[in-house]
Structure formats: C-alpha cells, structure tokens
Symmetry: C2
Subunit: 682 residues, 2 copies
C-alpha cells in the first residue's frame, strides 16, 4: 500500500542518497556554533529593520529611541543566555524546554511549550525565508519582483532537500554562517573606521528621504506603547537561542560546559551584530517605513508603489561598501544563505520535537522510531505546507509575518525558566552541602530573573502584537494543543482497554484447537508454498478452501489438485454472485459457531511484487478479504508471500530507504537515552 | 489502508443505502424497453439537429436533402436491428459484441471492440449530458448561460448517485422514457394534424431567419461529401442499440425472443420519432447553423453572440405547442431527463464491461468479482473524469462532441457483424438439417449485409469526421487497447512464472521445521492473545521477540513477563538507533542463514480499529515491518487481530458495504454463467 503513496514522492524527490550510517561524530564547539547559531544570528538581518519600522510610525524623531531599544534587547539576550546556561547544565539529555516544563510544571505546561515551539518552527521557516528573499532581492531585482513565488519556491526546495534526506554536516553550516558573521563584522569595523577615523559621511540609499508619521506627536502612554512594540519586534533576535538546549548530546565532552560556552559565544556575537547594525543605520541615516510607498517622502512626494524598501543590513552595506561593490554582493548572498539555513533548522527541529512528543504519546507512536522516513516526511510536508500558507497569505512580507513570531518562543522561555526555578527549589530541599547550595541559589536567582523578564516580554509581545497577528500564532498553538491532547487521550483509552488483567494471566476462554484453512484460487507455486507451510504447523485440522466464481476454473482446479496429489482436502464453496469475501467470512463464522473455542487460522498466498502498478493487479481481493477477516474474533490471518522476480526492484528500494538518515541527526547527537521525567508512564 | 481513501468518499457520497440483495427479478418487455432504450431513443433529441447543422454549411437549399438522409438512417437502423436480432438469438449469454468478436475473430478483434465501446461510453455521457443541458436550457435560461458548469455538475451528480449504489429500477427508467416517447408522438401527431388537417402554418422561432452558407454553391464530390457528413451525424441515433445484446440474461423467458422483440420495437420507435422530428422541422422552417452567431441572419444582420440556438426538438415543440406552453415545458423536461438517463446507462455499462474484461485478464482481476464496490467506484470515477474533461474542453457543445461519437459504436457494429458471419459459417459447416441450414443462411445474409453496411458507415464516419474530432476517439481507443494488452501480458508473464511444474509437485527444497516468533512491545491483551495463538500451532521452536528502543520500557516488559509467568522465552534485541524494522529483519535473516530449510513464522499482534484516524495511530510500525518481511524468503507473517471496542463501527460499515448492490445489476440479470469462448485459458 505504501508503495502507492510512494510514487509521486519518488518522482518529485528522487531516491534517497546513500549516506553513511549516523556515526559517533560529536561536534567540537567551532562546528557546534554555526550548527546551532544560524537561526539566532540570522535574525540580526531583519530585527533591526523591524525596530526602525515600528519607530517610524511616530515619525523620524522617534528614531533616537533606537539605541535604548537595542540596549533593552541586549539585556534580554544576556538574561536569556544566562538562564539557558543553567538549563543546559541541569538537563544535559537534550529534551529542552519541553522536558524542563513537563518535569517541573506538569504535562500541561509541557504540552503548551511543545505547541508553542511547533508554531514557532513554522514561523521560523516563513520569516527566515521571506527575509532571505528580501535580502537576496537587494542584489537581484528579479527576486524581489516575484517575492511570494521565490519564497514559496525556497520553502519547497528546502522541503525536498530534507525529504531526500540531505545529511546535515558541520561544513554546510560553518561556511555561510562564518561568512555572514565575518561580513557583518567587517561592515561594522570598516563603517566605524570610515566614520570615526576617516570622518567620512556615509549615506544610505534612503538617507535623503523624509518619513510621514502615521501618528503625529505621540506622547505619554501611546509613545510608551509604541516603544514596547518596537522592542517586541527587536526580540526576534532571540529566537533559536533555546535550540542549543535540545542539542547538548551532540556536543563533545564535557557536553554541558561546551554547550554553555557555545551559548555564551552565540549571545555575544548576536548582540554585537545587532547593536552594530543599529548604530550604522543611525550613522548612515537609514529610513524605514511600514508602508514605504505612502510614508517615505522623496523631495516632498511619496515614493510610490514602484519603490522597493531594502532591508537595513543591505542599505547599511551599500552605504559602507558602496552600491554594487563586491563586498556588498557577498554580504547579501551570505545573509540570504544564512537565513535559508535558519529556515532549514526548523525542518530538522520540527520532526525531532515530534519524535519526542511521540514518545510521550502526544503524536502517533511511529514518529518515535528514528530513521522512520515516513514519519519525518509527514512532519516536513506539514511544516512546509503551513509555512507556504503563511507566506502566501502575507505576501512573503517579513514585517507582517514578524507580528506572529516570537509569541511561541517567549511562551517557551517563560515556562521553561519557571520550571527551572521549581527544579532548583526541589534540589535545594534535599541539598545540604553549603557550597553546592550557594551555587543552586545563584542559579535559581538567574532563572527566576529570566522567568520574570521573559514573562514580562511575553505580556508586552501579546499586548502590542495581538491584534497585529499574534492571535494567529495563538490559534495555531490551541490547534496543536487540542490535537495532541486528543491523541494522548486515545492512546490512554486504548491502553486501559488492552491492559493485561493481573488476576487472570490470559483471556477468559483459552483457545484449544486450531482449524487451518488455506485459501486457493488456482494450483500454482504460491498456493503450493502456502500449502507446504500450512502443513508444517500441524494444525488440528487443515483444509484448502476455494470460492467457485467460474465453473470452468473450479473444474480445472479440481483436476490439478488430483494430478498433483495434494494431500490436503479441498473444499469448494459456490458463489453464484461471484463474491469472494462474503462466502469465506460466512464459512469462518460458521466454524467459530460450531466450536467457539477453536481458533481459525487462514493462510493467504500473497504475491510480492516490485512496482506500485503491479499492486493494482495483484492481492487486491486478498487484501480486502484480510481486512474483513480481522474483524472476526478468533481468527488469525497468515500471509504466505511468494516473491515474484519483479520484487527484486522493491527490495533494493527498501534497502536504500533503510539507509536513509533523518535530517537533524547531527544536532541531536548519537546518544539516545533521554532523561526520564518522573511522571512518565512506562 | 483502504479506510484512508474511504474518508473523502464517505464525506462526499455518504454511506451506501441499504438495498435488498439482487433478487431473481427478471424484466418483462414493457420494463426492458425503457431500461435498454433510453440511450438510442434519447438520441433523436439531438441527431436531427446535427443533420440540419451540417447541411446548413451548404446553405438553406441543402435542407431539401434532409428527408433522404433520414431515409438512409432508417434503412441503417433496420439493418442494425435486424442484425442484432441474430446476435441476441445466437449469443444469449450477455457477452455482447466483445464476446461475439472474441469468439469468432480472435482476441485482438475482441479487444478492439472493447476499447471502442469503452471510448463510446465516455462519449455517451459527454454527448447525452450536453444535449440534456441544451434541452433543459430551452426552458430554463440559467442552464444555458452556465452550460459547461451545469453539464459538469450533472456528470458529477450522476457519478455520485452511482457511487452510492443507487439501484436501477424499472420504474426509474419507465416514467421518463415513456413520457418522452409519448411527448414526441403527441407533438408529431398534433403537428401533423394542425398542418395537414387544420392547414395551420406553424413557425419555429428561427423560421424567419436566413442562413449564410459557409460554402456557396457546393456541387459534385464536395456536395456528396457534405451529405455523407450529415448522414454520419444522423447515425448518432443508432448508439446504444447494441446494449440489449449485453442484457439478454435480464429478460424474462423466452429470453432471446423477448430481447429480439424489444429490439425491433425500439428500432421502430426510434426511426418514427427521428423522421417525425425531421419532417416537423421542415414544416416549421427550423434553421440551424454550426456558428449561429455568425451564420444565422435576421433582417439581413447576423444574430450575434447573444443568440442561443435551441435544439430542433425544442424549436419544433415551440412551433407546435406554443412558446412557454405547458406541453412544451413537459417535453423539454422529459427530453432532458431521458438524456440524463441515457448518460446513466453508460455509468452502468462501463464497469460492467470492465468486469467482463477483467475475467479475461485485460483489466485487474478484482474488477471481475461482482459487488466489488471499489472496482465499480474506480470505473465510475474514471468514466466521469474523462467525460468531464471532454465536456470542459468542448464547452459542453453537442455539435462538437458528436464529431468524436459513433466511431466506437460502428467499430463495434462492424466487427460484431463480421464475427456473426463467421459464426454462421462455422455452424453451417456442421449443420445437415435443410430447414435449419436455410434459417442459418438467411441469418448469415442479414449479418453479412449488416457487416457491409455498418463497415461502409464506419468508413464514411472516419472519412468525414476524422479531422473534426474523430481522431480523439481513435486515440482513446489506442490508449485503452495498449493498456489492456500490457495488463494481459503482465498476467501471462506472472502466470508462467508461478505455474506449478508438473514434474516436481512441490518446490525444490521442502521446508522441514517452523521457527515461530511473536513480536512483543508490551505485555497487554493483544500480546497475550498472540502468544496464546502461537502456542497452539506447536511450532518446533517458539520465542517472543522485543526490540528495545527504550531501556525503561524494556525493563517494565521483563518484569511483566515474569509476573505473568509467560512460558515463552523472551528475546530482547537492542536497537541503539530506535529502529524497529531493521533488527527484526536481520534477526530473521540470521535464523534463515543458520537453518535454510526452516520456515520462520512471525506473529504480529494487530489492533483492529474502527476509524480511519485511528489507523494513523496504530499498526503503522507493524504494517511497515510486515511489508519488509514479505520480501524475505522463507517467512510467513501472521496477523493476530485484537478487536478494540471502536472496531464495531467499522464492522457495521463493512456489513453495509457488503450489502451494496452494483449499478447495472438490473440490466445484467441474475444469471452469471458466461458462454465460454473456445480460446479462453482455464
């Protein structure tokens, strides 16, 4: 059956590359940094611009608040990094925020975190790809002219790559990430040098523009609210910080310490780049507006629909390096690349989180087994579909999409940090050693402050962005939460239904005898094999059963039976209406009625074929019959396969598929033992 | 698995109506006539118009040829009816043209007939529905303004009705068909009375129009060619005549004679109505044109795009009964209804022919078993899809669609009649009784003339219509022919591969022992049941196998195992990468390597659930594992079902589905024994 659904996939995606089995390769810090940091680092490509856009609503004068907002983001970043360094040390198993929240705050909090993260993965794809397309568009006009199309194309391309099972490799991440970091630093240093030492006046392409404020002369509460909104948008720089806490097992030893160091390094790089870009934007007089066509004024006239507002990083690069210069192009390409990589991390993280949720039975169990390609594929298709939908609805506009973003991350931050406070409280209750107690109290203080601060930001984000789109993200969370709760309830109900009663080690009526039936249509090799196998099991009774739908065929069967001297009695049931299923079912039910304690064992010869279209030509009646037989109590159904020559093709395909390695394996690391939270049922 | 694909169907189509089992009801002639004649009778609703449209290409003067064309159609109709009366007597088994051609001319001729008929079923739907919409549109303007949409809607509606398993009933056919026949006869009689007795001058709505001929002053060969084309279009009145030859078993006894009488009656009705309508069209000065907007001239000006050309039957009814009169409305409704019924006959005939072809292994075998809903569904969906495509492409324009029509029917007529000639030759070679020989010689003469005449018409149809669209029909036939040949070849190849070698009654290495494995994940009721059943079969070796993907779960399993005192050894395989399939496959392969003559019997506990979404939550790993195991030689795989409470729902559904009766059963009759053609392999 799965072959059928396989076909379109195979046509589109091709066969999986043969890749080596997941080796015992652990990540050194210099590789771990780009693997985990492409998401948070890449967000400096759009976060500064979003801050300026919100400020511009109050007019140009509000731009002088931007350093203060940058400062607030820096403080927040340090808080979050400091908090997660505690997480990484306390939970080195890679369960991340979901595990921390579930263990310390209970399964509902854990599920809330999971829903929030799933939504945020979707938005990471949508936002990063949209921003990537905008950055690429600053160098290649075609891209920006077909923004939505290019963004959708990029999402689909990433999905196909991940479906094919492209292996994450350190190199893949290292080159663009380091190139991007180096480019931004070069820009900041060269820009600072030109401005402060050479005394050059650099001009962004929008330097001469005026901004028409949407709200003239904002003050008091309204101004504060606007500043908070700008801060919320700046917080986009923090997304992805939590990813390292899922990836501790992938680090070299000492795992926790290396992860903590990498985390600190990542935070430092991110804030430096964020602040540097804001400073350069101020120095080069970048102007950004939410509706550039209307609100950006050139020589007293709005710039109109034809104008394309380039991202801040591109405008600054143009001012510092010069329009169309080599370095400008390199930085634009590196920015776009690192943004696509950031989107790619979501493709790895989404099915990975799904597999953890599956272990706790919030998602179908088969997602749990690694290397289950189908499960990963479903996750990837779901993620890509949702991201395409969002990109389509919002026209691949980063400014609009960013309104939905961050909600999930801060829900996750807040619950995780609150959970950590509980964690320390629990440990402190048992710990007596003063030195270790001091250490724990310090950690608790950091996490408590983290919980308070991220909670505050969550409130700010919700208050300032709810009507602008955050409700969509919340709705998404509710849908995920509801679905996963329903799945868990189903599993629990089934588990209760099938639980082995301790009193009686077996079911009430122990079966006593086996009545075996071999289904026969003609006497060919598959039938002979099924007969031979069925004879081996020494049932109490064995007979062959054939449904006569055609007198000539039945006659031929009887003759063959005698000619071959098959020593199994052949029973033939008439079916005047040429049905196959019904007479068999009725016969089996009759046997069961006569001797209710007997088990009926039905042997069905089955062809094993190699191509999906052959499936349409064989086994269909057998499949349907089997489906009906399974509903009949006291029956077991045995498929006796006969491998046709063409099955070799499918065998090879299956072997290749088994060698496929799931995306995201590098960051997950080879250790598979999750920390067990106390409330998990066995 | 089938449950998954079931869902969208169920939402759209609803559950099947519970209908009584196909009873032993045979059709009396008065019911058989409307059941089989709705197709040929309904074609008089468009055939006369198509004749006039072709003639109008040569201008109004060409209209005086129309009685001659009508005469030619009448002669052809009598020939075909006379010929098929021979078929019905010689082949009372209901195999129809396919059987006659296969038996007498060989399988290739048979397959050609089958391909031709399949294509013509598609066109019956497209043409009848388009004509139905046009007739309905003469009374309800909205319908004609949204012609394509309404036609597609009607096709889809018919498909849904047939998918739901609406039972054909005599009444369903009788009321509209007799209403239509009565209406047309009333119109002819009242029109004749008004014209001949009262001396009224009746005017069709287009009576005052002029026609601008596309070809001025055609003469000689060109004129003959045009007349032949008009005749070809008129031949549409003959489609469906062959249907009775498939339906002989449905008649009351004496079947053949009753069928022959019904056939004669049908021919008589059809030609009378056809000629009557042509005569009335002449009397009321109906004007028809291929491009009415351009070629119909009112007061010296073309009528333009806004003009809707009503069908001839509607125009005549308007002239005879008066515009908007009650009788006019009734006739329009009856005409539309009988045309939709005609389309419906294709929905019954298409899967029926498919099931006969499946018996000869030209189509997947499972189509052969009656009551196989899935098979019928696939046929219906294929038919509806192809018809929608044609209607869409040709804008539901009867005049365009009719160009594709008839090719198939006349291929079928010609081959069938040729086959009949061979049939009589064969019988005559053996027959000595002079009276019966005389009878046979007479029959042969009729069939020979039929073969000659229909062959001639086929040549005319192909010559006059090939470039106008008949090539599409031929292409369709080639596609059907090629596909069916390929399927048959596949079956033959497999049959050769699996044929039991007569020398060695069994396979070379007879298996000696059974090594049974019960797959276990937890110790719950399904597992206990599987263990109990596996113990019953007394294998040479029995062990339980569990794949450890989680140490805690494995520990719990071991403890449960001891607590329950299960007396089967438990083997646990480690799977550090949380795979399930690979370790099992490798273990089984290892067993086979060590003792190649052993058979490995794998028992898999399986949950039986009631809803499609539950399928997503259970058995997925088991299914995949089973799929892989089947490729391993020397293995048999047993599903031990455990029926969850929810499976009751599916059981009820399956029961309902089993009670569903296939569309087309009334006309097929209860007798299932097909005449065996000599070249069929057993």
């Amino acid at each position: 059956m799965s072959k059928l659904t396989d076909l379109p996939k195979r046509i589109l995606i091709g066969r999986a590359l043969r890749s080596d089995r997941l080796g015992e390769t652990l990540l050194p810090k210099r590789v771990a940094l780009p693997v985990f940091a492409s998401d948070p680092l890449s967000s400096v490509a759009y976060a500064p611009g979003e801050v300026l856009i919100v400020l511009s609503l109050a007019g140009l004068s509000a731009y002088h608040f931007s350093p203060w907002i940058a400062l607030a983001v820096v403080v927040l970043m340090f808080t979050v990094v400091a908090s997660y360094r505690q997480n990484v040390r306390a939970y080195p198993s890679g369960g991340g925020d979901y595990e921390v929240a579930t263990t310390n705050l209970g399964p509902r909090a854990g599920l809330t975190v999971a829903s929030a993260l799933l939504v945020d993965y979707v938005l990471t794809v949508a936002v990063s790809v949209s921003a990537g397309v905008e950055n690429l568009g600053s160098a290649v006009p075609f891209v920006i002219e077909n923004k939505t199309l290019c963004a959708v194309g990029a999402i689909v391309l990433l999905a196909l790559m991940n479906l094919r099972g492209v292996r994450e490799s350190g190199k893949l991440f290292a080159v663009p990430t380091y190139l991007f970091v180096a480019g931004v630093f070069a820009m900041i240093l060269w820009g600072g040098f030109r401005s402060l030492v050479l005394g050059d006046t650099m001009h962004a392409p929008t330097a001469e523009f005026e901004i028409k404020p949407e709200h003239q002369g904002l003050a008091g509460f309204a101004l504060v609210f606007l500043l908070l909104r700008a801060f919320s948008s700046g917080c986009a720089a923090l997304t992805g910080v939590e990813a390292i806490s899922n990836g501790v097992p992938a680090f070299r030893k000492p795992k926790s310490r290396n992860a903590a160091t990498t985390l600190a390094l990542m935070g430092l790089l991110a804030v430096t780049m964020f602040c540097g870009i804001i400073a350069l934007a101020m120095a080069t007089d970048v102007k950004m507006a939410e509706n550039p066509a209307k609100d950006l004024i050139r020589d007293g006239v709005p710039v109109g629909e034809g104008f394309t507002q380039d991202p801040v990083i591109a405008q600054v690069a143009e001012a510092v390096f010069g329009h169309g210069s080599f370095l400008f192009m390199v930085l634009a390409a590196a920015t776009a690349l690192v943004l696509f990589l950031a989107a790619n991390t979501a493709y790895n993280g989404f099915p990975l989180l799904g597999s953890i949720l599956a272990q706790d039975r919030y998602l179908p169990r088969q997602l749990h087994t690694r290397g289950d390609r189908l499960a990963f594929s479903n996750g990837i298709v779901l993620l890509a579909g949702a991201a395409v939908l969002l990109v389509w609805i919002y026209g691949a506009d980063t400014t609009h999409l960013i309104q939905l973003y961050i909600v999930g991350v801060f829900v996750s931050f807040t619950l995780s940090q609150t959970g950590m406070v509980r964690h320390w409280n629990r440990l402190l209750a048992a710990e007596r050693d003063p030195a270790r107690r001091r250490h724990m109290v310090r950690s608790r203080a950091i996490n408590a402050f983290g919980a308070f601060f991220t909670g505050l930001v969550l409130v700010v984000v919700l208050a300032t962005k709810f009507t602008h789109g955050a409700w969509v993200a919340l709705l998404g969370m509710v849908i995920f939460y509801g679905t996963m709760t329903a799945i868990r309830k189903h599993y629990d109900r089934v588990a209760a239904e099938i639980a082995a009663d301790d009193a009686s080690p077996d079911e009430s009526a122990r079966p006593s005898r086996v009545h075996a039936i071999v289904l026969v249509s003609k006497l060919h090799r598959p039938t002979l094999r099924a007969l031979a196998y069925a004879q081996l099991i020494r049932a109490d009774q064995l007979e062959a059963l054939s449904i006569s739908v055609d007198p000539a065929e039945t006659k031929a069967l009887r003759e063959d039976w005698e000619r071959h001297g098959v020593n199994v009695p052949l029973k033939i049931l008439d079916s005047p209406y040429r049905e196959v299923t019904r007479p068999v079912i009725e016969y089996v039910k009759g046997l069961r009625r006569r001797s209710p304690r007997d088990v009926v064992s039905v042997y069905i010869p089955e062809y094993v074929v190699g191509h999906w279209y052959e499936h349409l030509l064989h086994n269909q009646s057998a499949l349907r019959l089997k489906g009906r037989l399974l509903f009949t109590p006291g029956v077991m159904v045995t498929s006796v396969p006969y491998q046709l020559q063409s099955s070799e093709a499918a065998k090879k395909r299956a072997r290749k598929r088994a060698d496929w390695s799931a995306p995201g394996s590098v960051r997950r690391g080879p250790v598979e033992r999750r920390h067990k939270e106390p409330n998990r049922k066995g």
